[in-house]
């Protein structure tokens, strides 16, 4: 096991100092050290999207990010997105449309949807399918998620 | 008298992957055959020499005898930047000199992070008094982390290893400076002294 590395990162507007092994992922640090369990460990291979968070304003896989390599960067998790206008609209739409059941994938879906809406304020069904293809859901069958994202997009535009 | 060199008219060795079921599962069956310009007795003596086997198996770092029919071997398989060091136990389950050797290989790498199991069959057929056809089949399964994440390429690697093993074996036997002195048909216990280690027999890992 490598010696612990000292890392300073910003998580949800708080500056945090961590001592982590070289191969510790951001996902592990968020969940196990900071008790920010919104991001989920679904596959630990970057495929399922349940660990999606924002890093310096860009959606990334926390499971594929090494904490030690995030020195000085700024992480936004679902726990810190409560006052974000886009996230709030998405959360309302998700609830109204029934776009979640067990909720395991939901934090990742919301972060990915927010990133999509930043790039495309009026996505078509196909745009949402493509833009959020990296977030798997075992419960909903996706259609309600697509409806919710498009509903939120409409509301954010008005 | 076995000839040295002179490899015209030989069957080219090929190791083939034979898939089982849809997508091949976690098993691969490799098989191949090749001719060696040496008599069957000579070839048989060489293939039952674990020291030579160690030199012919690509990536074999060591081999030691642990029982009259068992050997422990360390074989490294490299795939790109990943080096998997396998700890293997080979058990010879049946020998019918000078024509047949059946063996089983069991082992692991990375403290049981991956497991490997193989059932091997080696047959020797006399083509003529100075030429022997060696045929091998091996049913190999790889499970664990390499089986999960690298199975496709692992299967390619073992096929390539079978090919290289055959090439090295044939090269060694055919280019030997001195053929082995004639001896009575090899018995099950005939082991070259250089590879017999002074360790007490241990229980074979199954």
């Amino acid at each position: 096991m490598s010696d612990a590395l000292h890392v300073n990162i910003k998580v949800n507007d708080s500056t945090v100092a961590l001592d982590v092994p070289l191969t510790e992922t951001l996902l592990t640090s968020l969940r196990d050290r900071l008790q920010l369990t919104g991001a989920k460990r679904g596959c630990n291979q970057g495929v399922c999207g349940a660990c999606t968070v924002m890093l310096d304003g860009v959606a990334v896989r926390a499971c594929l990010s090494l904490t030690a390599n995030c020195e000085g960067q700024s992480v936004l998790t679902i726990e810190g997105a409560g006052t974000d206008r886009a996230i709030a609209a998405l959360q309302d739409a998700f609830i109204e449309e029934g776009a979640l059941q067990c909720g395991f994938c939901t934090p990742g879906q919301l972060i990915a949807a927010r990133a999509l809406l930043e790039q495309n304020t009026d996505p078509s069904v196909e745009d949402v399918q493509k833009g959020m293809s990296g977030n798997l859901c075992r419960c909903t069958g996706y259609n309600k998620i697509i409806d919710a994202v498009r509903k939120a997009a409409q509301r954010l535009q008005s | 008298m076995s000839s040295i060199g002179g490899i015209s008219g030989q069957t080219k060795n090929q190791a083939r992957e034979v898939p089982h079921g849809p997508n091949g599962g976690d098993r691969v069956r490799i098989e191949g055959n090749f001719d060696i310009a040496a008599s069957r007795d000579v070839v048989y003596r060489h293939i039952t020499d674990p020291g030579l086997m160690a030199r012919c198996v690509p990536g074999c770092e060591s081999i030691e005898q642990i029982s009259p029919t068992g050997y422990r071997a360390r074989v490294t398989i490299s795939v790109g930047g990943i080096k998997a060091r396998f700890n293997l136990v080979v058990e010879v389950t049946r020998e019918q000199p000078p024509g047949l050797v059946l063996s089983q290989t069991r082992g692991e790498e990375g403290s049981r992070a991956s497991m490997l199991a193989a059932d091997n069959e080696l047959t020797l057929v006399e083509v003529d008094p100075a030429t022997t056809r060696v045929s091998y089949t091996s049913e190999i399964s790889v499970t664990g982390r390499l089986g999960k994440f690298a199975l496709g390429v692992m299967k390619k690697k073992v096929v390539a290893m079978g090919q290289e093993f055959a090439d090295r074996l044939r090269e060694f036997i055919q280019t030997q400076a001195l053929p082995l002195a004639p001896q009575p048909a090899a018995s099950v216990d005939a082991i070259s002294p250089a590879t017999q280690m002074a360790t007490p027999p241990e229980a074979i890992r199954s």
Binding site: G46, E71, G134, N135 | G81
Partner: protein, 284 residues
């Protein structure tokens, strides 16, 4: 210090670190490397991160109209590139089909190329585009055609202590380029893929095809390219497909059996070629 994370500010510094720490690995985007660490296939004691090296992030037009793509260029940026015209579009199309939007934010062309997984999208696209790989070594930089860079399963021509610094695309010429990928699901590694470029400069039509996912390296055959160049008849197209199919050496794994992948090759080739011809005709 021999362990830990190093963040050099220049290629020269990175190379010096690799020389001093032969066990260290490079981390580019981390999309492949960290996945392997998570799968316990690797446990590096030292990593050299390229995140701070500005030179590696640039995508620049070179004199003569080609492009130099820094090794740290993200898939996202290459997928959005509008400057890769004609046959070079094969690279943009390949980038756009890698994984998903989030992973494209992380992965880099240098990391992908150095990893050389046979199911990746860049390798066949770069071979079809006649790209070259720029390798940085302590003794200096050199370039190598993409077709020579990919050597074997997960194996490239990189020597210990070397790193990919850029990918070079030749000047765009009139023509088309496209990348078709067959995968189990959207974003998966390719079960099989076809990268095709067709340069039609009014004098001759020169076609290059590289098959991905069907062997240790991208599969390109001079004879198949010859058959597909000019104005091939249906028979030429069929023979090219047969040649590539016979030469393929696909793995057998969960993404598809070797037999299935071989079956896909001529079919995908035919579709790609037909589309290329239509696009080439439309662009005249």
């Amino acid at each position: 210090m021999n362990t830990g994370l190093f963040r050099p500010a220049s290629v020269a510094e990175a190379l010096a670190l690799l020389a001093r720490l032969p066990e260290a690995r490079i981390i580019a985007g981390g999309a492949s490397l960290v996945a392997m660490i998570n799968a316990r296939l690797l446990d590096p004691a030292a990593l050299v991160s390229l995140a701070r090296i500005e030179e590696l992030k640039q995508i620049t037009e070179t004199s003569g109209g080609g492009f130099r793509i820094g090794a740290m260029a993200r898939h996202r940026d290459l997928a959005a590139e509008t400057r890769f015209s004609g046959p070079l579009a094969v690279v943009q199309m390949a980038a756009a089909q890698i994984a998903n939007a989030t992973v494209r934010n992380m992965g880099t062309i240098g990391g992908a190329v150095a990893h050389a997984d046979p199911g990746l999208d860049y390798p066949p696209a770069l071979v079809a585009a006649d790209a070259s790989i720029e390798i940085a070594a302590a003794l200096g930089r050199r370039r190598m055609p993409a077709g020579e860079f990919f050597v074997d399963w997960y194996t490239t021509a990189l020597q210990p202590g070397e790193m990919v610094s850029a990918v070079h695309l030749p000047a765009a010429r009139p023509g088309v380029g496209l990348y078709h990928k067959f995968a189990r699901v959207s974003g998966d590694y390719a079960t099989a893929s076809v990268a095709l470029t067709m340069v039609s400069d009014g004098i001759a039509i020169v076609t290059r095809v590289a098959i991905g996912g069907c062997g240790p390296t991208p599969l390109m055959m001079a004879e198949a390219n010859r058959l597909l160049s000019g104005n091939p008849a249906a028979d030429d197209l069929r023979r090219a497909g047969d040649l590539l199919q016979a030469a393929a050496d696909p793995v057998d794994d969960v993404r598809g059996s070797a037999e299935y992948r071989r079956m896909l090759i001529p079919r995908m080739l035919a579709r790609a070629f037909d589309e290329a011809r239509v696009r080439a005709g439309a662009s005249r």
